[in-house]
Amino acid sequence: MMTWMDRYLYAVTRRLPKSMREDIERELRSNLMDALEERLEGRDATEQDVLELLNEFGDPEKVASEYMPEKRYLIGPELIDLYWMILKIVGIAVGIGLTIALVISALQGEPTQKGLIEIIIGYFGTLWSAAISLVGTITIIFAVIQYTTAGQEFSHSKAAEELRQAGKEIGEAFKETEISHTVKSKQAKVKQTKTWSADQLPAVPASSDRVSISDSVVSLVFIGLALLVFNVYPDKIGAYFFDNTAEKWVGVPLFNVAILSAYVMFYNFVWILEALLHVRLIQTGRWGFAERMVKILISLLGLGIFIALIQNPAVFNSEGIKAGLIQYGVDLSGLAKLGMLNLRILMVIVILGTAVEVIKQGYYAVKSKVV
């Protein structure tokens, strides 16, 4: 008979933090016994009495949740939209990247001469493991953010404390990277959680200051692609020829991967900075002065790296390309000239493009300060 009560108490307390269990069980048992005694009016308790009492008391899950009134989230409602968005963006970027990699390796024919089906199975395998690690990593990052900012009141176990400590450190590092709004956002965050007053409402952005979310999302996708391709598959960037004798596609890498990697390191910094900028833009929905300054910085840094890269002939796999061109019977002399010309034209285009971007951002930045 009493086993029903034990079962009930266990069903409630097992849902509670360890530190609270013993005390709550003791108190609940005492209360339940009082209630049972009251309804018995002197006679001995039957199994039926206990069951009725427990039914009246209600679902253990509900009772336990009354003891834990703070809703518990891994990722709370204030972060969940951003979480889904980033998951989608990164997912699409990686999906596209892997698909391109698949197509290239299928066209090339892997050295082991795998069949098409094997390649496709391998593709889904890679896609699956990439998806798992992506979702996992992003979820952990968000959970840490949740614990450090939103879930500050939730503190029970030592493990949670340690996790929070680690999260704080990561959070600090994250903040330092977001050069553009360190001070401002810190103030804003404090204001958001503590007091809010209408006079702090930001002005409705001028149409030139409004962020096009789709532009930012597309940028993020391409940044993701660039990060993936240049870091993981730099050797796949190149010219592709159909080899008639071997009856397959052969790729000639455009870059000397070992030398390129030094430049990629700098580009990674610029790309990640740009990705952070776009995340920030999507969050705030407006181009502020700081955002424009960061954009100018990114443009100039990118241009600098680009010029350095293009000035260094060792970056390009010249020998390989030449050999490839000869082997596959392409007219070499004309193409080489064209190649040099192309590089010059490309440089002019990139410089002009950067100049336009810098002037545009500078103009709006000044305008926003003047008005």
Binding site: S30, D34, G58
Partner: protein, 117 residues
Amino acid sequence: MTQNDAIQNLMQELRRGTLVIGVLSQLHEPEYGYSLVQKLNDCGMTIDQGTLYPLLRRLEKQSLLESNWEVEDPRPRRYYQLSDSGREALEALKTEWNELVKTMNLMLSLESEEALK
């Protein structure tokens, strides 16, 4: 959710808001869980025990109540009583409640007149 459920839900929400003031008002003298249930019941306030006991703990955590275990026959019981800040909170809640009653009575009497037309 049927219309009836929705109405039930609304009434439950309305009652829930009054729980704290009701509970605090009955704890000038120490009470243990079940004795408080009966006391509230006698006044006409029905409350699930599964709601009340966690509420008592929360109020204690907020320092509005103090508690201690009394070893007595037939079993040890935890007694709750208002703390100093609990008394203060109760006074503030009472003032607020009286204002609310005034406002609501006014609004509802106007509504009755309106409905009669």
